[in-house]
């Protein structure tokens, strides 16, 4: 069986940054396994600008951002396989791999970094009634068709869901000559970044209908129309509010799901909230030697944070390969009162860095609130926030020096500031 020190599953932004960091920390024998025909992952189809402000202080397009990491991987001569898919990962880190270069083989890895990213929630997950004609695509599929394949999926478009890809595609389709008639969002607020609402919808006079969803799909062969309706607080359609919008295309941007079938098969413990592995501050999963980063861990809003997180995963995989092991104690992290989850889910108080960035999302929008961290009920720190929204990931720097001796649990909450 082929042996490798560090196998990285996925050659997108997470896998690339992890590989670079691991090599910088001295890991010689690395293999990146990428299923698509080129490195870069989903960034390759994100041809809009806005990437890299935090990392490079510049607004790059997705392919440009990816290229900086790809160039570094090439300079460092880190081996990678393209069009190659990991079919299975076992609990003892044996990868079953298939691709044109390798054929079907097994690889024994000493350490593995999971960097498979996420996928889009399909129509079926929403149980939208109606016909099943051509012309219904997830926003990311449409993005690939337009930006990589050079095809137009339709001319008259309705978008369901105001996730970032949906917003980006509203603008993209408009720029390509299509008419985007509406973006419907079932929640009373958008799940996308504020800047995307402004730059992709408002700047193009595309209406965003909140508390609105698609209740029927018309057209037997190609999509002919959708029926939109307003929903009540329980997200149930309100009778009498239906209106039919003729269109030939429905794009869905209704959520992203970390893609963890391999992790699951290996026996990695997954969080029911994030859908990704539960990890320590070393980004170590429940299986020794298996690390996770990027959207496979939890869905990020900005690629810059993916790169940061992935660096950590790469460094920690290197430390693991050099013999570092977790300490005997573990402090649990949890989210409450509006903090949906935390990544990491636990920290190792003996070996933790001086500052650990705890990432999470809030459950609903807040104004003039504060993010608070408590150690076993005692307030550690409070960070005031003018605006908190589920569309934007929050980061809370947790300092080693702040942690009380013998602390068991650190709880993160949102607290609204009384006026």
């Amino acid at each position: 069986m082929k042996q490798v020190q560090l196998a990285i599953i996925g050659g997108g932004p997470a896998g690339l940054a992890a590989a670079i960091a691991a090599r910088e920390k001295g890991v010689e024998d690395i293999l990146i396994i990428e299923r698509d025909k080129e490195l870069g992952g989903i960034l390759n189809q994100c041809i809009h600008a806005g990437f890299g402000l935090h990392t490079f202080g510049q607004e790059l397009t997705g392919p440009e951002y990816a290229q900086r990491f790809i160039d570094r991987v090439e300079e460092m001569h880190i081996p990678y396989l393209l069009r190659t898919m990991v079919l299975d990962l076992s609990g003892d880190r044996v990868l079953t791999v298939t691709g044109p270069e390798t054929g079907l083989i097994q690889i024994q890895a000493q350490a593995v970094i999971l960097a498979m990213g996420c996928r889009e929630r399909p129509r079926g997950a929403l149980n939208i009634p109606g016909y099943r004609p051509a012309g219904i695509y997830s926003a990311g599929t449409a993005q690939r068709l337009v930006n990589i394949e050079g095809f137009m999926p339709g001319k008259n478009v309705v978008i369901l869901g105001s996730g970032d890809i949906g917003l980006i595609m509203a603008r993209r389709m408009t720029l390509e000559g299509a008419k985007v008639h509406a973006v419907a969002e079932v929640l009373p607020y958008s799940g996308g970044l504020k800047r995307n609402i402004v730059q992709c919808l408002e700047d193009f006079d595309i209406p965003l209908y909140l508390s609105t969803t698609v209740v029927d799909i018309h057209g037997r062969e190609r999509l002919e129309a959708v029926t939109l309706a307003q929903v009540d607080e329980t997200r149930k359609p309100i009778p009498g509010t239906e209106r039919r919008i003729p269109c030939d295309t429905l794009l869905l941007s209704v959520g992203l799901l970390p893609e963890n079938e391999l992790s699951s098969a290996a026996g990695v413990h997954l969080s029911t909230v994030t859908g990704g592995p539960e990890v320590t501050d070393r980004l170590a999963t429940s299986i020794p030697g298996v690390f996770a980063c990027g959207n496979v861990l939890h869905v990020h809003d900005l690629v810059d944070f993916v790169s940061q997180e992935a660096r950590k995963a790469g460094e920690n995989a290197a430390l693991y390969l050099a013999g570092a092991r977790a300490g005997s104690r573990s402090v649990a992290l949890e989210g409450k009162n509006g903090v949906r989850y935390t990544v990491p889910q636990s920290i190792d108080p003996e070996n933790m860095d001086d500052t650990v960035t705890v990432r999470f999302r809030v459950a609903q929008p807040y104004r003039d609130a504060a993010l608070c961290a408590y150690a076993d009920g005692t307030l550690l720190r409070r960070i005031p926030k003018r605006i908190l929204t589920p569309g934007e990931m929050e980061q809370f720097p947790l300092r080693k020096a702040e942690l009380p001796e013998g602390c068991q649990t650190i709880t993160f909450t949102v607290e609204e500031v009384a006026k």
């Binding site: 996928r119 399909p122 004609p133 012309g135 599929t141 095809f151 001319k155």
Partner: protein
């Protein structure tokens, strides 16, 4: 050119009839109005091979169900399609309903169904731990099975094609005339002459029948809506779980599929429109609620798709199948609703024998009885899979990541006869796009392969034939 037999309809019954007819030294064609076989009732149903306890003894439904169910396992081996005998339970929730279960048991025994027995209390819940605590007893039918309806229908079609049956797709039969002792069919842009006709036109079988026969029939499409759940939930139940049947059918079931998903449904609502395969909010809600009575706390958030099929329900006093020669040389398979899929092999066999007798046909020595499916690499042992990839690297290149379907399998699906010409055609044959992302990642790649292998531009490709085009053009040339 004169055909000996033309089969109208490329569903399970039509393809079974064509395959059985192809045993004989006859010239046979099959006309399908869709772009592919298995695009009507046969593609959207419960995918169950019923044991045969439900149909009233003495009816054609009972006879063909039991016969079809007995043929199915060996047929699945001959033609290499997925089939698994997983058993079924018919639940009752009240001891008071026990007599109804016993009635079913009695009926089943009269129909010749083997192994039926009533299980109660602890044994029932041991057999199926996910069942509602309210389930009091069940009729257990160990011979009930699950099948891939696409796999079965396409296998029959391919085997028929191997044995010389000609397939005409996009060929709706709009007219049938009697001329010089022959039937003359207008099928799409073709006019075909034949000695005999098999009417296996599903929800349209009344229309075809009425073109030829004096006695008029009427099919009322009866919709059945379903939800399909992720493979991680396929082990929730081992057996197919029914509830005591009602007037409109066998009630809502919960079942694993042969591919390991969990399926719930169907509803049963009459529809005027023979093509109204749309799901409805009420229908899906009803299916979910009723399924929840059998198996509580169904993980509906794992739903990957929902769909609606139409049963060919015959209106009138009897809703039994009509199978046989309704006019000289015109053979009906009308009103083939449940247990139609289970009965299809037996119906096909029977009709073929009737026609062979009528035409005094002889069996040909060259008949090929077996057909091999496209290799499903995911299901193969590692070394076998490795060998296939070594011989053909396209089997090593994964296109559909959810179902782990390779480029080689997709290419095979396109070049089989009758082959896939659309995204859905590929999906039904090799399951690319059938998984949890529902084609989100693989659609553009499958489109590229279809375009390359068929030699047509991607802008001409369809989801399912007709005007279901996937793209409206190239970028930079669209004007809204």
């Amino acid at each position: 050119m004169i055909y000996d037999a033309i089969v109208i309809g490329g569903g399970a019954v039509g393809c079974a009839a064509a395959r059985e007819l192809s045993r004989y030294d006859l010239r046979i064609a099959l006309c399908e109005k869709g772009e592919d076989v298995c695009v009507g009732t046969s593609k959207a149903n419960s995918a169950i091979v019923h044991a045969g306890f439900d149909a009233v003894p003495g009816t054609k439904k009972a006879r063909f169900n039991v016969a079809g169910s007995r043929m199915m396992e060996s047929l699945s081996r001959e033609l290499d399609f997925p089939y698994r005998r997983n058993g079924a339970m018919v639940l009752c929730f009240d001891e008071k309903d026990l007599p109804h279960l016993e009635e079913l048991l009695d009926r089943g025994q009269q129909n010749g169904v083997e192994g039926l027995r009533i299980v109660r209390g602890e044994e029932l819940h041991q057999l199926e731990p996910a069942l509602s605590p309210a389930a009091a007893a069940a009729l257990y039918a160990p011979t009930s099975a699950i099948v891939c309806p696409f796999g079965m229908t396409i296998a029959l079609a391919e085997n028929a094609a191997q044995n010389g049956v000609e397939f005409f797709m996009d060929s709706p039969v709009s007219e049938i005339r009697r001329r010089d002792g022959l039937y003359e069919l207008t099928a799409g842009d073709k006019v075909l002459q034949t000695r005999t006709v098999v009417n296996a036109a599903g929800v349209y079988s009344d229309v075809l029948h009425n073109m030829v026969c004096e006695s008029k029939l009427s099919i009322m499409p009866r919709s059945g809506e379903y939800c399909l759940l992720d493979k991680k939930d396929g082990h929730l139940v081992e057996r197919t779980v029914f509830q005591l049947p009602g007037k409109f059918g066998k009630g809502v079931l919960v079942t694993p599929t042969v591919h390991g998903n969990l399926l719930i449904g169907p509803t049963a609502v009459d529809r005027e429109d023979k093509d109204a395969t749309n799901t409805t909010a009420d229908g899906l809600a009803y299916a979910i609620r009723m399924a929840g009575l059998s198996v509580p706390n169904l993980p509906m958030r794992d739903t990957i798709t929902s769909f609606c099929g139409l049963r060919a329900h015959l209106e009138g006093e009897s809703d039994d199948f009509i199978i046989g020669e309704s006019a000289d040389g015109f053979f009906d398979a009308v009103g083939i609703e449940s247990p139609g899929l289970s009965s299809a092999p037996a119906i096909g066999l029977h009709l073929a024998q009737c026609i062979a007798q009528k035409l005094d046909a002889t069996e040909k020595l060259t008949f090929i009885a077996t057909r091999r499916d496209i290799p499903h690499l995911r299901e193969l042992p590692f070394e076998d899979r490795q060998a296939l990839v070594r011989d053909n690297p396209a089997y090593g290149s994964i296109i559909c990541r959810c179902e782990q379907i390779s480029e080689g399998e997709i290419v095979d699906a396109i070049h089989r006869l009758p082959g896939a010409r659309s995204l859905d055609g590929v999906k039904r044959r090799v399951r690319a796009g059938m998984g949890r992302c529902q084609g989100g990642f693989c659609s553009p790649k499958v489109m590229e392969i279809l375009s390359r292998e068929l030699g047509i531009p991607q802008t001409e490709l369809t989801k399912s034939g007709g005007s279901s085009k996937l793209l409206v053009g190239y970028t930079k040339e669209v004007q809204a």
